[in-house]
């Protein structure tokens, strides 16, 4: 059982961690949520069909935990955002602009209605296919495509207008 879980961590651990980091903006909290995701998965491993892909199942657990986290922590800690400021640029100006744009992006994401945010994060952070997003969120394919389309434009508009 534990070997199966370890394989899941190796395959999906980083992606789930990044997803949680996008929700919380804090490495410690993100790690806690990731750990809780795998602990819950382990407890319910006997209910999981091992012939199926574990991705949607794990991301469903993770998304639910992130939703609960958001419900309990309404203030989004966009100030920290430590995980996303891994700079390739060396100059202080570049680091500053990168941090600022990252902060704006996080604020825009936070302003996005939950139904769009969830789909976008699963696509761009979880690197999931449309089919996997449908399974994760129990949504119809047409709804996933629409939410992805509208959500991406909305995110762009929020950033352009600075309406965050």
């Amino acid at each position: 059982m534990q070997d199966l879980l370890q394989d899941m961590v190796k395959t999906y651990g980083d992606k789930i961690y990044r997803l949680a980091l996008r929700y919380t903006g804090d490495r410690g909290q993100a790690e806690d949520l990731t750990q809780e995701t795998f602990l819950r998965a382990y407890k319910n491993l006997n209910r999981f069909d091992q012939d199926k892909d574990a991705g949607p199942w794990l991301f469903k657990i993770a998304t639910n935990l992130c939703r609960n986290w958001l419900r309990d922590n309404r203030e989004t800690p966009v100030e920290s955002l430590e995980g996303f400021s891994q700079m390739t640029a060396s100059s202080p100006e570049n680091i500053y602009f990168k941090k600022e744009s990252e902060k704006e992006l996080a604020l825009a994401l936070d302003s996005l209605p939950q139904k769009y945010r969830e789909v976008i994060l699963l696509k761009h952070v979880g690197e999931m296919s449309y089919e996997e997003i449908c399974k994760t969120l129990d949504l119809q394919m047409s709804l996933v495509k629409n939410r992805l389309y509208r959500g991406r434009f909305l995110l762009r508009d929020l950033l352009e207008k600075g309406n965050v």
Partner: protein, 159 residues
Amino acid sequence: MIQCPDKLTIQAVIDGEETDIQIIDHLQSCPRCCQIHSEMKDAFTPADNLGSTVKLPAEFLGRLNEKLSPQPFPAAMAAAVIFTLAIFSAYLTNPGYLQWWLSVGITRQISYLIDAFIDLLYISHIVGPTGVIIGLAALVALEVLILNMLRNVEGQINV
């Protein structure tokens, strides 16, 4: 040339979900669709920027395994439970007694035990191995006698 695809199909091409070669060719040859495709790609850039290369801390798996391994009931927790029960029982016996129990009772009871143990050691050194055996035999005999008497008394009561 095929009909112009809808926006969701163009989105699917960008996402790599639509691989129909006719649609892809159309997007490259139709000026209108080409422009929509290009605008859409630009509009999706902020969402693309949400991705990152952050990795879980190296110790994550170790910490997870630690959580998964069965934890022995902590001895400190057991001691705390026993202590709480003892205090609670002392409190129920007599509220005024609690303070005495906390300040004197614990240390006094422990010192009684230690004293008794030291006394036994001291006596066993004086009387030697033979004396200890005789003493134990006497204790056993006394116990048997008492039990016998109790049985008799019990028997008398039951009659």
